[in-house]
Symmetry: C2
Subunit: 354 residues, 2 copies
């Protein structure tokens, strides 16, 4: 398959790098590729970023069947462009595809196309500290009929958005509401996949938490509301004494790439880290015994998001005096330094674009 | 709010009424209405059926947050047009909206707009037995940014599709696979809402069942895989001796309008009907004691879909010799006769369009 490239006539004005926010501005070009049952994936192309024209009966509006990924390109001091474990994102994309009955993609090939797109859009990667180019690959079904069944046609797209620092005022802990009414995901469901429906399903709980002054929701398992699963759209870790624990991938948790990297990093430092069932009761118990030292969420957007407070059944549990813990800080600094090339990447996690 | 009407210049050719299928053809016009946080719902309009132009960052592609409804308009012998309990569909639309953090609509007003649209498209309602005009209201978020949060802008649309008979060769029982690996929905999740993500989430199970020769999947509860919930996109009923049982609305089952009507109808006939927990084991027990007389799914598409066989853990359970049961038949005939105006509607379920 040859990639075709159709460049725009006129470039957009770039946004103010101090006011990027998240996912608001998009670059001049996008990647697109089509699927038809008889042809497989075909016609990979880089083209102007522009609206899609879709019949109102297009399946994506009715039954979702869409999956996505999220990763970032970072500009280094010496002006190189780095990707952080991008092959993991495209492997996960295929895992999501499998769960949603979407035809698998050639993930290595897509990564090549992505690199070409980034090369073309290099000027869009902001230079300011903490900024990056957010990369959003996504797949939608495009059949125009109302059958409740997997589509026969799809589009895979990649769009790019320069994004601001997650912590413009420095990394700081947030307050989290432990949700015991709504469920994010359950074994046998779609929790392990990055599929559209999982996200809007969490909005009511998220809004309720926000109205009460909480930054995010901590999700418990859907069966017993006993075991901890994730926090917002992040995986979650706890430091109890000098051991780190994180919920094991039990069939309803999204396997985060930051999560995976944190585990590998901790192991390389000799910090004991366990993936296992973690109950809310255990965390409260550790809290009461002064053994709960730190808690944090992990994800591509924030890398590390320290948790300063948990609210469970109207009780408030303040962690580490609402300060960023030592280990959280060290993890944050190490990962961001590797991502931006300011620290030697002994893990071989980063990939240079061109 | 005044409804504006913009008619097409040239009408489409109508499809062959013998080859309509389901949701393949759409009429000349559609209804559309917009929402903005500051304005509420505004600009209700009937306009030509045509593609939407949507930025690739439109929220619907990434986080779903879309809901829909499904109902039908029927042509009577004497050429009137009937809707079946349409107010229930728009009430349910608002329930779905609530669960997905979508702003509520004025459901009575929407019903008026729908009637106007159907009046304009009256020629599209097929006359053949078993055919009807399928009505698909749906709402999508239209913000163009990647924030994981409820949108500030939406579009509500209604599209219409002439559909063929569900039973071109007469009503007949199907074989059903009892799914014990995948989960459709769980308490605290989105199972009670008609939201896009629920449907594609079931595709892998549905495809696995289809590959093994089954028409549909029977879903068990997500917690214990013990209690029966729904069958495909239908509610489910069992006749045990002379009592009818159906799973109660426990927080993960879609409250079907056909289900509600069947219950009311049975009660009016003096047939005992119970909404309660129904375990798979109980059904097998009843089967073994020759007490399981009939089983059927219920929904707008099929009205009644008799179940001729259940497959559970590789055991085959044949119901009523794979023949349509007496009660199933009577229910099917009564409801379809009311819907098409050939039987007196003592329940006041139907509404005449114009
Ligand atoms: C539900 C959910 N959990 C966890 C994560 C963290 O995954 P990652 O570290 O790969 O960004 C994400 C975000 O990607 C997510 O959407
Ligand atoms: C999941 C699900 N269950 C049940 C039903 C049956 O509902 P109704 O009788 O209102 O068509 C439907 C279809 O509408 C459905 O999508």
């Amino acid at each position: 398959m040859t990639l075709t490239i159709d460049k725009v006539k006129e470039l957009k004005e770039k946004p103010n790098p101090k006011q990027l926010g998240f996912g608001k501005y998009f670059t001049d070009h996008m990647f697109m590729m089509d699927y038809e049952r008889e042809k497989g994936w075909f016609n990979p192309r880089i083209k102007p970023y522009e609206p899609l024209s879709l019949d109102p009966a297009t399946m994506v509006f009715h039954y979702s069947q869409s999956v996505f990924e999220g990763l970032k390109a970072y500009r280094t001091e010496d002006d190189r462009v780095l990707l952080f474990r991008p092959e993991k994102n495209f492997e996960r994309l295929n895992e999501s595809n499998r769960r949603l009955s979407i035809p698998l993609v050639d993930n290595e090939l897509i990564l090549q196309y992505l690199k070409k797109l980034i090369e073309i859009e290099k000027e869009w990667i902001p230079k300011e500290e903490g900024t990056s180019l957010y990369i959003r690959p996504f797949i939608i079904p495009t059949d125009t009929n109302l059958r409740v069944a997997p589509a026969n046609t799809y589009k895979l797209m990649i769009i790019l958005s320069p994004v601001g620092s997650y912590y413009p005022e420095g990394i700081h802990p947030v307050s989290i509401y432990v949700e015991h009414e709504y469920t994010r995901a359950v074994k046998g469901g779609t929790g392990t996949a990055k599929t559209a429906g999982n996200y809007s399903a969490g909005y009511v709980a998220q809004e309720k938490a926000a109205q009460n002054g909480f930054a995010q929701v901590l999700w418990l398992d859907g069966m017993e509301k006993k075991y901890i699963e994730e926090v917002g759209s992040m995986n979650v870790f706890f430091r109890i004494d000098d051991e780190v624990v994180t919920p094991k991938l039990n069939g309803s948790i999204l396997p985060g790439i930051t999560r995976m990297s944190i585990i590998e990093l901790l192991k390389s430092w000799g910090v004991p880290v366990k993936e296992r069932l973690v109950s809310m009761e255990e965390i409260i118990e550790a809290y009461k015994n002064n053994r709960l030292k730190e808690a944090f969420g992990t994800g591509t957007a924030a890398v590390i998001s320290p948790i300063g407070e948990l609210n469970w059944h109207n009780e408030q549990y303040i962690i580490n005096n609402k300060k960023t813990g030592e280990l959280s800080k060290k993890l944050y600094e190490t990962i961001t330094s590797i991502q931006t090339g300011s620290m030697k990447d002994t893990f071989n996690w980063t990939e240079v674009v061109k």
